[in-house]
């Protein structure tokens, strides 16, 4: 074993592991080539459906504050919720997959911190979803002639990142539930549906009856979608999205540590019960 160098832990090692997790996912994902083609075809069809629905709707007065019509409005909403769906479901799907493959226990006997495992397992899904979002926006630009200002695109980056972070926090909590229950996570599905309903992704929240319009403010995605539309479709700048940035930051600061705590607690429960590898 003379070729083996001493094992040295540190931040560099964490990055190496994240790279290894990415390569693993890349090889596995691209061994199912057809699935990737279908995934992107689905995005194209979905965008086309929205395009024709938007032609039917014309220019609703509720969207007067934005440039363009319903198509541009809904494309931005769908782009944000695409990341939302990813953040909410990526981690519990990964855990379920590792349990099913029987690799979770072996991975947990390596000196890999859980946060590194979760981060590394998120890289490829994030890149693939970013590809979907770029495709959505390219379709929006090419079919409806939408032009997103470059300055707005750059200003929107922190909003995208913070929105993804809050979704990931919920996703990590959902993964914790899956570690314990094995199947039947009560967080991902309901949260995604409620987000679609209340965050203003598909329609402006101003159409809600007053009695329930307050619910939108409970969802981090509402702030992300509102802020991103402001800079991409209404010519807003930093000062216009400052409240959304602050609120999303507060959500992130609270939710991410809570989710990591909940996940490690779930691992402890499964370790005590001896059910870590069960599925």
């Amino acid at each position: 074993m003379s070729t083996t160098e001493p094992l040295v832990e540190g931040p560099g090692m964490d990055w190496r592991r994240i790279g290894a997790l990415f390569r693993r996912d890349f090889y596995v994902e691209f061994s199912y080539q057809f699935r990737i083609v279908l995934r992107y075809l689905e995005v194209v069809f979905y965008a086309l459906i929205m395009f024709f629905i938007s032609r039917l709707m014309g220019q609703p007065p509720e969207l007067d504050q934005y440039e363009g019509g319903y198509f541009e409005f809904v494309m931005v909403g769908l782009a944000v919720t695409a990341f939302g769906g990813l953040g909410i479901s990526a981690f519990n799907q990964r855990i379920s997959e590792e349990q099913r493959l029987g690799t979770l226990e072996v991975l947990l006997t390596t000196p890999t911190r859980m946060s590194v495992f979760l981060s590394g397992s998120f890289v490829l899904p994030l890149l693939l979803t970013t590809g979907e979002v770029i495709l959505l926006l390219v379709i929006a630009i090419s079919t409806a002639g939408v032009g997103f200002p470059l300055g707005g695109v750059l200003i929107s980056i922190p909003l995208w990142l913070l929105t993804i972070a809050t979704f990931c926090a919920f996703g990590i909590m959902a993964a914790g539930v899956i570690v314990v229950t094995k199947r039947g996570d009560p967080i991902s599905g309901p949260l995604y549906q409620l987000t679609l309903l209340f965050s203003g992704a598909l329609f402006p929240v101003s159409v809600f009856p007053e009695a329930i319009s307050w619910a939108a403010y409970l969802f981090p995605a509402f702030y992300g979608i509102t802020g991103i539309r402001e800079v991409l479709l209404a010519g807003g700048g930093w000062s216009d999205i400052a409240p959304e940035l602050l609120i999303l930051s507060a959500f992130t600061v609270v939710l991410v540590p809570v989710s990591l705590w909940a996940f490690s607690r779930a691992i402890r429960i499964a370790r005590a019960a001896g059910t870590l590898g069960n599925y």
Partner: protein, 259 residues
Amino acid sequence: MRLRIEGVSKTYLPPTGLLRLVMRAATAEPVEAISDVTFHVDSGEIVGLVGPNGAGKTTLLKAICTLVEPSSGAIHLDDLDVSSRSLEVRRQLGIALADDRALYWRLTGRQNLEFFGVMAGMSRSAASEQATRLMEEAGLAGRDKLVFGYSSGMKAQLSLARAILHDPSLIVLDEPTRSLDPLATIEFGRKLRTLADEGKAVLLSSHRLDEVEKICDRVVVILEGRVHYVGGVAELHDEEGTAASAITEILLRAAEGER
């Protein structure tokens, strides 16, 4: 002394409170899987863990590997407590579980080894170099392909290669030769001896008593979660003919005693 297991017990408790609503236990009653287990494995030693199905072997191995939290007792690898310093323990741990699913079937054997090498803490180049060497040693180098195309024996060889890839000081093997042919089993025994001679501690769980007799220095006989015998294989030879028949005798006597 490399691995010390002192008075380790594990009782699986059924979930209580809110957990009862979402978590399913195998039984509604507490199950005492292992009770007051004590033994050790020295550097340079191969210790066989023998017992019938349901004896508590897998629970014990999982407790050593940080996958199950013992209810009481302590497990130390060198000076490291397995429960409180699990990350450090895992750096020195190599495992091969009986479950041949514990590989990524959509990766090649080599990709599996390189992945787990880095996860164990190796650089990518060192993991690649070791993977090449171990694939050659295991006779897999010319036959590498996606793991779903591997035979059971090839998967077993790959699991073994993964267990020793990062040069661990403790190697824990759960029925590692279950799918190996006789020649591969002999070769495996030689490989384990070489590793032990390099100073590694090896704990090997097996149902194959002939294998335990040939490979192991000492044997731990466990039944119904309790240790019934700890001693040298050579001593068993002296007392009762072959060690395998002596171990069988110990198991039968222990089973009678438990009844």
